[in-house]
Symmetry: C2
């Protein structure tokens, strides 16, 4: 049994938006054992939509379509679905009542005919309630294939997937288990790892697939397998993972799919009842933002001083002007002072500090673009390390954020 995804919208094909819906849908389908064969992004165009539907119909059991259901005139999806299913649009009173309720409750402008038109649905479709918006989900069968049409607004699409589509698929289809296990490493390149684990890789059972996923100084190793007996699949993966540790245990910082490093930092801090603060210069609040993207972060993250300007480091963090003058604002000494001071100021157990030059111009320091210092303060000591992160602004920031999390994770682990 396989699925595929069709996303409709010129905005994707002109690069105005990134299609993040497909990643969400793929991940959720995978979790329930449904493989995604292909993702196809197509134009708001009747013939193109019909072509894509035909091709998907021939090979997949479930086709998830997103986009093209808004109230305005640029949408052709619904009428094209009618053409494909040889169907016609009819008014759905329940959907209309829901639209009217949403307007009454949340939207200051009066309801219009355009809004009411969203209650028109193909007569053969099963209607799926969209709690968060005006366009309902549609569930339509043609031969052995189910076509599901969802609004493109990520929030509404996610609600419908979780509340309606996934439960229906679970209910109506027999599915194998697809199990992934991802090992996260840092500090070594793809090919260097590959050499270290060559024998292990050559001896992997045929049913287990390995993929290398390199990104910004880290490589993730993903093991995947598929079958009907979940327990034996999990055991098979675990037994292979165990053999990895003697080979590359020193560069592994985590396992589990989906567990970002900030989640791991948060879990460890919660377990050990410790707290963290940050003092950020060129990273501009990105470390704080990643930390606070984790629900429950307020238990261990107290706050951050984003001292972007040099004066802010002096005024809010109390870094002495002399220190800045003597060593320059991008220096080991300033990174250490920032980490120590923010830890004291916010009364936390650990602190992270960043100072560096992300370019494009040189800024308040003579250090070359790409030179950064990351300071870590623990209950026992404070230190800072220098890194040279290339010359690409965005990449310098993200690599430094990654590195800061790695450094602090190690310290918390060992505390």
């Amino acid at each position: 049994m396989q699925a595929e995804i069709i996303t409709i919208g010129d905005e994707i094909l002109i690069g105005q938006i990134v299609d993040s819906n497909s990643a969400f849908i793929s991940k959720e389908l995978n979790k329930i054992g449904v493989s995604v064969y292909q993702i196809t992004s197509i134009q708001d165009n009747r013939n193109h939509i019909l072509d894509a539907l035909e091709i998907a119909h021939e090979r997949s059991s479930v086709v998830i379509i997103t986009g093209g259901l808004g109230p305005t005139k640029d949408d052709v999806t619904k009428s094209t679905l009618c053409q494909f299913f040889d169907d016609e649009l009819v008014l759905d009173k329940k959907v209309l009542a829901h639209i009217e309720m949403l307007f009454k409750k949340y939207i200051p402008t009066p309801i219009s005919d355009l809004n009411r038109k969203q209650a028109l649905v193909p007569s053969k479709a099963e209607i799926l309630h969209n709690a968060h918006g005006t366009a309902p989900g549609l569930w339509m069968k043609k031969g052995k294939t189910v076509f599901v049409s969802l609004p493109g607004v990520p929030f509404e699409m996610k609600g419908l997937m979780t509340s309606a589509i996934l439960p229906k698929i679970i209910n109506e289809y027999e599915r194998p288990y697809i199990i992934h296990k991802t090992i996260m490493t840092y500090g070594l390149g793809e090919s260097a790892i590959a050499e270290k684990i060559e024998d292990w890789e050559d001896n992997l059972p045929d049913a287990i697939k390995l993929a290398y996923l390199p990104n910004l100084g880290r490589v993730r190793l993903r093991l995947s397998t598929k079958g009907t007996d979940k327990e034996s699949l999990v055991l098979a993966l675990e037994s292979e993972v165990k053999k990895l540790y003697p080979l590359i245990g020193d560069i592994i910082y985590g396992e589990e799919e989906d567990e970002s490093i900030e989640v791991q930092v948060g879990k460890l801090l919660t377990q050990k009842q410790l707290t963290l603060s940050t003092a950020e210069s060129f990273t501009g609040g990105k470390i704080a933002q990643q930390l606070t993207s984790v629900p429950g972060a307020s238990a261990y993250f107290k706050g951050s001083i984003v001292s972007y300007a040099t004066e802010a480091k002096v005024k809010t963090l109390g870094v002495s002007e002399e220190l800045v003058k003597k060593y320059s604002v991008v220096s080991e000494e300033v990174a250490i002072a920032m980490a120590e001071n923010v830890k004291q100021l916010l009364e936390t157990d650990f602190a992270i500090a960043t100072t560096g030059n992300a370019g494009p111009a040189k800024g308040d320091s003579d250090e070359a673009v790409g030179t950064v210092f990351i300071g870590i303060s623990t209950p026992e000591r404070t230190f800072a390390k220098k890194f040279v992160m290339g010359n690409h602004r965005e990449r310098i920031v993200q690599k430094s954020v990654n590195k800061a999390f790695e450094l602090v994770l190690k310290e918390i682990l060992n505390f």
Copy 2:
């Protein structure tokens, strides 16, 4: 003339990564007048790759392939390309020298046979230099179609697109101009706008297409047109845009494609030689992070106090404990105090403050999840506004960040 994009990699189809490469490529191709017909994400599988290449070959002049060029064993792309082009792999000495240089300069581990294998290229391919990585770009012709194969690492892909692919396409193909103009609005829903501009929309010339792009409380209106005379296309769009202002001028906050609201805030502050700071609670540094994602932000952005914990608001921002007790930490009064205090502390002209509850738990305040206050301090006054942002953590944060930028933009505009 049309292009299409094929992205190769199981990691996309299991939802492990979001395909942001395609958005970049689409946008860049559009800028030089090349329409993207379709984006197809497929598996690391020989037959699937061959199928996708065949279909693209039939209809498109340029096919951009990304992914599947890493040094490790999970990659089948190169050998499949050889099969498709009836070609074989040969060693490219220049590529090998480049790989050896990269290892010597940047990579602590010794070069391996796996790395050297990346210098194997199809004999018929034109080799495009990848300054940032070991896998070169490949430019191969079959009939009237050009196939371009690029590494999937975004940084390397972008470098190759900019330095080699786009110049070659510009050089070798006659292309029309594709002009987009996007009007950014806030405060009114898609259908309410549609009604206000209905007559205008009905009278648009056939050559101009309109799309509504709603997202998190904002709607962008995109006008697109295509043709050979650039100047007349631009004029045609501009004349239509002009007619929009009498209809919805009050909700338009910007024009220009690609100009995010933080870029606009930055431009205005630079023009007027004004500065900005932020005091962030539940937004966790996201406003600071968006501000500092703009190169040159240090000219106007001084810093942020991310006072996630209530104690941090007291200790670092000097918000009085009595005020917090009297009004609760999520209140208009605290938002005002935060904005005023950070403005003073960092000596800036404007300040933004946020306090609220993004959930999932209620936190340090009795206010319901979704209740937020945004404070704005200007050289003339300080105020705070209350908003109710639903109950979805991520969405509450992003909507609040958007709203904060809107509020401050308006104040800076009118100052």
